[in-house]
């Protein structure tokens, strides 16, 4: 697989973040925080009428983008922060850019800037990723 600094990683879109998926994830993660499944709780805290997506799932959209690009099992590191929240019914797009290529022995790695973009252009996730590139 050929990649070079400056290459854009093909984006990955979650068309609709749903409350139903948040509830499934809350159970799997054993995450008791009501912001992920109780609209009234969220509203009472002035954050509007929609539940808030779990941060690991926001990261998972970035992971999906990287796996679609370089293959399952290709991710070696994801380090991300969370400048914004994602609410139910939103559409978000994972994006990334290669900023370096490194070779270690027979393996080639892409160091990437990655982020999750909301429809208003703001970011809900941003950080870096290290991805093993498949050999040509």
């Amino acid at each position: 697989m050929m990649a070079k600094p400056g290459d854009e990683i093909p984006s990955w879109t979650m068309e609709r973040v749903t409350a139903e998926r948040m509830r499934t994830v809350a159970a799997i993660l054993r995450d008791p925080n009501p912001v992920h499944w109780d609209r009234d709780y969220v509203a009472a805290r002035g954050a509007g009428p929609r539940t808030i997506n779990q941060s690991p799932i926001n990261v998972s959209y970035v992971a999906n983008m990287l796996m679609a690009w370089a293959g399952p099992g290709s991710i070696r590191r994801l380090r991300v922060g969370f400048p914004g929240a994602v609410f139910e019914e939103e559409t978000v797009v994972a994006r990334g850019v290669v900023h370096a290529i490194e070779r270690e022995g027979s393996e080639t790695f892409a160091e990437c800037e990655v982020w999750l973009e909301k429809t208003d252009g703001t970011r809900a996730v941003e950080g870096s990723a290290r991805v093993a590139l498949p050999s040509e």
């Binding site: 994830v25 995450d31 799932i57 959209y61 999906n64 796996m67 070696r76 922060g81």
Partner: protein, 148 residues
């Protein structure tokens, strides 16, 4: 109520009980579907498992982590960062041994008079059944103490 800084700082060095965690096929299927991804091949587990598997495998829960840090409420906790390192892809039906604890603490003013935020850093490593390190999850959470 703002807990004494010394009490929170004393959490540095706290080790979780430790234990093992096996990602079941059903769990991987449901979590992977929730991310919007198609099922992964050959028993690969979705990388997003590196949030809850280390916590559960280390013998603790999100609720216990909140309690340990004396969180005022669920909504008083925010996330600074996740740093997920994969030395090998995570897989279904592997008994991962998890070991880790709390590694750092910092307190700073939070803007309002007397209010503070405590930032705690956690680090948990996963080892496969051969004892080889498979993954490491580091994360920092902020605990906002606004009710001074």
């Amino acid at each position: 109520m703002v807990p004494p800084e010394a009490a929170i700082a004393a959490l540095v060095g706290h080790a979780f009980p430790g234990g093992t965690y096996r990602i079941a096929h059903w769990e991987n299927f449901l979590l992977t579907e929730a991310t919007g991804s198609a099922p992964l091949p050959e028993g690969l587990a979705h990388p997003a498992h590196l949030f809850h598997v280390p916590i559960a495998g280390a013998g603790t829960t999100i609720a216990e982590l909140f309690e340990l840090a004396q969180a005022g409420s669920d909504s008083s906790v925010t996330i600074d960062y996740y740093d997920w390192e994969y030395f090998a892809p995570l897989r279904e039906d592997v008994a991962y041994t998890a070991r880790g604890g709390i590694t750092e603490h910092a307190r700073r003013p939070a803007g309002e008079a007397g209010a503070v935020v405590d930032s705690l850093t956690y680090r948990i490593e996963l080892f496969d059944e051969a004892g080889t390190r498979a993954a490491r999850a580091s994360f920092r959470w902020h605990f906002w103490r606004l009710e001074a």
